[in-house]
Amino acid sequence: MDELKRTPLYDLHLSLGAKMVPFAGYEMPVQYKLGVMKEHLHTRSRAGLFDVSHMGQVILRGDGAALALESLVPVSVAGLAEGRQRYGLFTNEDGGIEDDLMIANRGDHLFLVVNAACKEADVARLRKALEPQGITVAYIEDRALLALQGPEAEAALAALNPAVSEMRFMDVATVELCGAEAWVLRSGYTGEDGFEISIPESAAVDLAEALLAQDAVEPIGLGARDSLRLEAGLCLYGHDIDSTTTPAAAGLLWAIQKVRRADGDRAGGFPGAEKILPEIATGAATARVGLKPEGRAPMREGVPLFEVEEGGEPLGHITSGGFGPSVGGPVAMGYVPAQGAMPGTRYYGEVRGKRLPVEVVPLPFVKQTYKR
């Protein structure tokens, strides 16, 4: 087995009492002393600091980088204003999703953040498609990535540099933090207002310590990150979306701007367009939905969903599920037949041989608080 990698914050995690686990090739903190439940609730009520340095940071440079990237993603990149970012998807020839990512326009370059488990494949995909077009693809190895999330995130980061208060949801800016050049993105993956901060490795510990020194900020592990994003109805790559799910089935058509759709000025031209675009009109056979188990028992990934309490074949399955600390009960997401995706539709999830009722509900489970 390959040796696990460590982020620049590894020693700080240990000193904060983190329980470390292997995750996507890294030793990462799954929880700290507060525990998953309190860490989750703290992020929703105050501010949580996450180390997401395991994720991939990539810079694309060169004339026409935005248009070139559009050959890999069904997203309008050329239409992305300077200082803004948006959510994107790498698709494949079958219309499936190879990874999801964030794309920021930082003026003279594009800055991408991709999932840890997919980053090598993503960089290879980018190099193969973009380098022949004269675009340079630089994988950033010397910067950490921190996320600060929650209603007090703005105040906590503004204490280090008030300029961040000017930023709105999905803005990106270059801001000096702890004497270093930080690339600050007003976004995150918890449903809360907050920031993701790319900072040189040499300043990462200083920044983390300066934030943690504030009353409002606690370190938060991967355990709570997962329950927060689930309550926010956000997809986890490899679970809720993968190379077999299409954007329509996944409920991610909002990420495909009009200009890339059929009849748009830059329609298609990305892998799987001939499958993905018609599905916008016809709909997919299955749909990702929010699911609320009626009892107290959590329904986790892999639980099959039946239409009836006894017998029959499973019609769908759960892709992410667990306990939602802010909801105060079990929450899940999964796929069901598209005609059975209306909120209020009831299914039965088979948990330890017993079929328990679960209802389709609108996503997200917790109201998003982005500062628009």
């Binding site: 998953v36 439940m37 107290r296 079990p330």
Partner: protein, 119 residues
Amino acid sequence: MKFTEQHEWLEIEDDLVVVGITTHAAEQLGDVVFVELPEPGTTVSKDDEVVVIESVKAASDILAPLDGEIVEVNEAIVEDPGKVNEDPEGEAWFFKMKIEDISAMDELMDDAAYKAFIG
């Protein structure tokens, strides 16, 4: 109090044995959010899966520590699973069982042996 390698504690109370999980186990599990207890009257054999306990992240089984019959369960921890983290070796007992052979308790670890076991 006696202990099993599955991190259960057992205590004799009148002619019954009270069973719960240890503080060490509760800490390892993290925040307990769901507990499913057996029906009173269930006859169990040692190592049968009798309780399901779920934390925020994962599900685990609790095994019957000895042969016997479940005679009473602690509904309070079903209503408020967080009690398992708050007071695992006290208020948050799981079930009481009538065991066939009380001498089987002698095979289990005492406090010192359990402390050594968990290191």
